[in-house]
Amino acid sequence: MLAKLMKYEIKATARIFLPMYAVLLVFAIINRLLNPFHTFETQGTFNLQVLLGALSTVLYFILIIAVFVIALVISIQRFYKNLLGDEGYLMFTLPVKPWQHIISKLLTAVMWYILNGVLVIISGFILISIPEIDFSMIIDTVKTMAMNMNFAAILILILVQLAAGTLMIYDAIALGHLFQKHRLLASFGMYCALYMAQQLLLSILILSFSFSWFQFIIRSTDPTPTQLNKFLIFIIIPGIIMGIVHFIVTNYIMNRKLNLE
């Protein structure tokens, strides 16, 4: 059933993401053809070519930001509208457990975030395929970073943060749903409250560990890879715990306190 739910969730969201990716790639190619960086370097004066180049570059970067903003908006809208709006009348009368709804929405949202990242990197590669400009410096920097840091740990950290962040939004919406009126406003208020509570907890954690387990990272001026890994693990674990807590609360509300208007 989870697979079926995800199939429809991907279907419902793909019709927005796929055209968006197409636009992103087209813009990367346009930028590659206009070659604005080359124009900026060779043209001394301001002219139409420079203006076009500048415009297409700016648009490209706006597009990259837009892709992520839209992914965020869609993840909120799918949860709010498809589960707790009128469409919820269909979704919650399917012979499916509420946790399967939450997980199918979560996995699909995280999947799109990852694909967003992949597409942005691909479009970046299209851009830097410009032969005139030397990007070896950037590649070298990335290489040194890769050697010093544990890439797997960073990837896990990103995934955990994405999932925990999305679950916190779901939790806020579910908590807002407990109100009889002004549910959208209540959800927003709940998000602020959850965010503050989380920051407070994290600060307490950091403070209480900063003199013991956590001290090595503060003391060292040039942390070794092992120390960095230890630090990464330190921030991954609270993320996992937060995610689990948000999931449990959301699931409880959907199981026991569901009140569709």
């Binding site: 059933m1 199939k7 469409e87 919820g88 919650f92 009368t93 399917l94």
Partner: protein
């Protein structure tokens, strides 16, 4: 025979408002039941509780021996009084959706009814009128071979000509062991198909009888009895 739907002291409050007040009911199989009451009498609330969309404040409800949940959702086919379909989907997409999730969904039946009503399957819902959307929803709900059909205001938004077709569809598409509960305030239109009636007012059951008993005891039609009971 055990009853299909059973409520014990079922109550639901929204803040200070009591939408359902200690409902006790037992509905058997093979009945067409009219859940009749004025606006805001608790009809929709009751049906939503049956569908696990609302949680009761007090009391219990059992459908086929189970509390509302995954087991009851497999055998209950629900028509809400809202449009719950995605606008961007085609009718054929939604039919696939239903047959993917409901084992008792009969695809052939759905396509048959669609063609009889002149609705093309590759039409998007966005392009449909409100009445057509309601018809599509009813077709989906009645294409399931469910044990309990819960229809909330199934004829509210369509013209009288379509009403007859819809009622016809309802009667033709259910088997003898299944029960249909129809909530409405348009009594005259559905009176002829009902076996039982339940009158509900301010969350309380005022009357629960078979149509035959009502005619015998009072000599009145359900419609005129309703007007008498709910006289303002």
């Amino acid at each position: 025979m055990s009853s299909l739907l059973e409520c014990k002291n079922l109550s639901k409050s929204f803040g200070p408002v009591r939408a359902l007040d200690k409902i006790n009911l037992s509905i058997g199989r093979g009945r067409i039941v009219g859940l009749l009451g004025p606006n805001a009498s608790g009809k929709s609330t009751f049906i939503k509780i049956c569908n696990d969309l609302l949680t009761p404040t007090e009391g219990e409800i059992f459908i086929n021996g189970h509390k509302p949940g995954i087991e009851t959702k497999k055998i209950v086919s629900y028509l809400p009084d809202k449009n719950y379909l995605n606008d961007w989907m085609k009718v054929s997409d939604i039919i696939d959706f239903f047959s993917d999730f409901y084992q008792d969904f009969n695809k052939d039946k759905a396509y048959d009814m669609l063609s009889r009503l002149g609705i093309t399957a590759n039409q998007r819902l966005k392009t449909m009128s409100k009445g057509t959307k309601e018809k599509v929803q009813l077709i989906l709900v009645m294409s399931r071979e469910a044990q309990l059909y819960l229809l909330d205001e199934p004829i509210g938004g369509v013209d009288p000509a379509a009403r007859d077709y819809i009622l016809d569809t309802i009667i033709r598409n259910y088997n003898e062991n299944a029960t249909i509960i129809i909530s409405t305030h348009l009594i005259a239109d559905i009176e002829k198909i009902l076996d039982d009636v339940i009158f509900i007012r301010e969350g309380q059951i005022v009357l629960s009888k078979t149509v035959d008993d009502i005619r015998e005891e009072t000599g009145k039609s359900v419609d005129s009895l309703f007007r008498e009971v709910f006289k303002c």
